[in-house]
Amino acid sequence: MTDMKEPLIPVVGVVTDIRIDTPDVKTFRVVTPEGKKAFAHKPGQCAMLSVPGVGEAMFSITSSPTNQEYMEFSIKKCGCVTEWLHAMEVGQEITIRGPLGNSFPVDTAFAGHDMLFIAGGIGLAPLRSVINYCRHYRDRYGKIDIVYGSRTKQDLVDYHEIIDEWAKDEGVNVYLTIDREQPEWEGHVGFVPNYVKELGFSTDKIAVLCGPPIMIKFTLAGLMELGFDKTQVYTTMELRMKCGIGKCGRCNIGSKYVCKDGPVFRCDQLDELPDEY
């Protein structure tokens, strides 16, 4: 955890760019009023964004820590705060507080390994920072496979970045899928868990999973079938949060606080927690 002198008091952030990703996902670029990045972070960490009067909510930082100029957040519209954020225009100030939570063990457990990233829908948002981190320090990791699926082509977040940048990188394989046939789609059609099994990855890698609970459940089962061990699989969790620093008492699963001890968990660690998520 990064040292925060005043963990509850945010700083002001200015939205300098808004990108429409999908019909319900927008990506917001945020800097301080001085035009700097609000704070340094690690891949997988989160921040609390707030619109005073509307509320505060936790979002994973989508941009890579290697980006020293700004932070980005890909946000799906699904509640009060997100609705407000979606209605915003460039130049709007918000507040930002963080970094919060743990991060992916990019420099330890991941180092030197082949990586398999599996995401569904908006689940790509937390993975984007770690994927871009791995791409940035390309020599530290082995082969990178990315499986990403969404309902439709329009719902694929960061589609252009995936096609124009990721897919063109050496040693990076991107596998896209959508749930149902669509006229302008020539790629794979089917659900992510099935696609992962079809692709049949070798087990000598670390898998990172993020997506809706049902997708995680089936993909994890699929990975087990392929011979993965739970210690090789990482995922991120999301629960209702208020303080973000493990004190307000609501995001615990057993003795672990998702906001402080998470959001990144190794799947075998999750097994030790009571079934209450």
Binding site: E6, S50, Q92, R250
Partner: protein, 344 residues
């Protein structure tokens, strides 16, 4: 150790209050309550206050900051003012321990500066118990009501108040009161010992004296999480927040914004894990029924908290929930049910 005649308490209070705010339990229509001392206010004779003393460090509502907005601009205003020193007099052993429990949450990294600020400015003058109630079970958690923790520990016999400084802060306070108080001699030591003995005797004779927490503690999640007894225990729970709010160690809170019409106040307030919307998200609800919420509260006190805090329980046995729960459900019943025969 220093002493002062009970008949001169008013002078003592006046002397303390001269340097800082002094809060002490006083009797009100609705039971004892911590109030700021002013001339004429008497120390309550009640065993304990209805509300715990946690308010002083973790108030029920607290303005965290203000926001001023104009057009697209936001200004963040830290509304805190310089805190003043204060003394809490007459805090019982259980409540003093609750501060330790709270400290482990709020002073853990990242430190809650709001709490820390108050904690640094507060001085605890605790008071040993001689008339523990039938609902008391602090002993279960290793608390000695005859020998509380605190900056200054007080023992009150029929005619004398003994003041024993346990910390530097405490010593400094007693130092400042030295003109008023007398030094203690050997017979005073004896008197205090006798006082403690009486206290111990009474504590050991309490109805709940035998209650044990041994079965609970760190890493016992699996032992209790799926116990069928949770259903029976929780079935009458109304889901109100009474137990949480009278509890000295419950520290869950909510952060909310209030639009005043000319700005936004962000405040935090006590919340309760017993409330159905405590963990509710637009996407779902991990604790669906009162059973899960009820279980959370007691698992937290007896298992989760000890797991994260070297085995320390986050119950201090003050007994408030025993007397305040609308349906008379409480941690003692929970411990006995889950603890099986051991506690019968």
């Amino acid at each position: 150790m220093r002493k002062i005649a009970v008949s001169r308490m008013e002078e003592l209070f006046a002397a303390i209050a001269a340097g800082q705010s002094l809060y002490l339990p006083v009797d009100t229509k609705a039971g004892a309550k911590f109030e700021q001392w002013e001339s004429g206010k008497q120390l309550s004779s009640a065993l304990n206050t209805v509300r715990s003393a946690k308010d002083f460090f973790f108030p029920q509502t607290e303005n965290l900051m203000d926001f001023r907005m104009e057009g697209k601009k936001i200004e963040i205003i830290d509304t805190r003012r310089e805190s003043e020193d204060f003394v809490l007099f007459g805090v019982r052993a259980c409540d003093v321990r609750s501060f330790t429990v709270l400290d482990r949450v709020f002073l853990a990294e990242p430190v809650d500066t709001y709490y820390k600020n108050r904690r640094e400015h507060g001085l605890i003058m605790s008071m040993s118990c001689t008339r523990p109630a039938e609902t008391c079970f602090c002993g279960t958690f290793g608390i000695d009501a005859a020998e509380p923790e605190g900056d200054v520990v007080c023992h009150m016999t029929a005619d004398t108040l003994y003041l024993d400084a346990k910390t530097e802060k405490g010593s400094a306070l007693l130092e400042s009161l030295s003109a008023l108080t007398e030094a203690c001699g050997g017979e005073d030591e004896t008197a205090v010992e006798r006082h403690k003995e009486l206290s111990h005797e009474r504590l050991s004779g309490l109805p709940l004296a035998e209650l044990s927490a041994d079965r609970f503690g760190a890493d016992k999640t699996d032992a209790f999480f799926n116990d069928p007894a949770w259903k029976t225990l929780s079935e009458a729970c109304l889901g109100c927040g009474t137990c949480t709010f009278v509890c000295p160690t419950c520290q869950c809170y909510d952060i909310q914004d209030f639009d005043t019409g000319h700005g936004v106040k962000r405040f935090r307030c006590w919340d309760s894990c017993m409330y159905s919307d405590f963990t509710k998200m637009s996407a779902g609800q991990p604790r669906l029924t009162q059973l899960e919420r009820f279980r959370q509260r007691f698992m937290h006190k007896l298992v989760y908290y000890p797991t994260n805090n070297d085995g320390l329980f986050s119950c201090v046995g003050c007994g408030r929930c025993l007397s305040k729960c609308p349906i008379q459900m409480n941690i003692v019943k929970v411990m006995k049910q889950l603890g099986g025969k051991q506690n019968d």
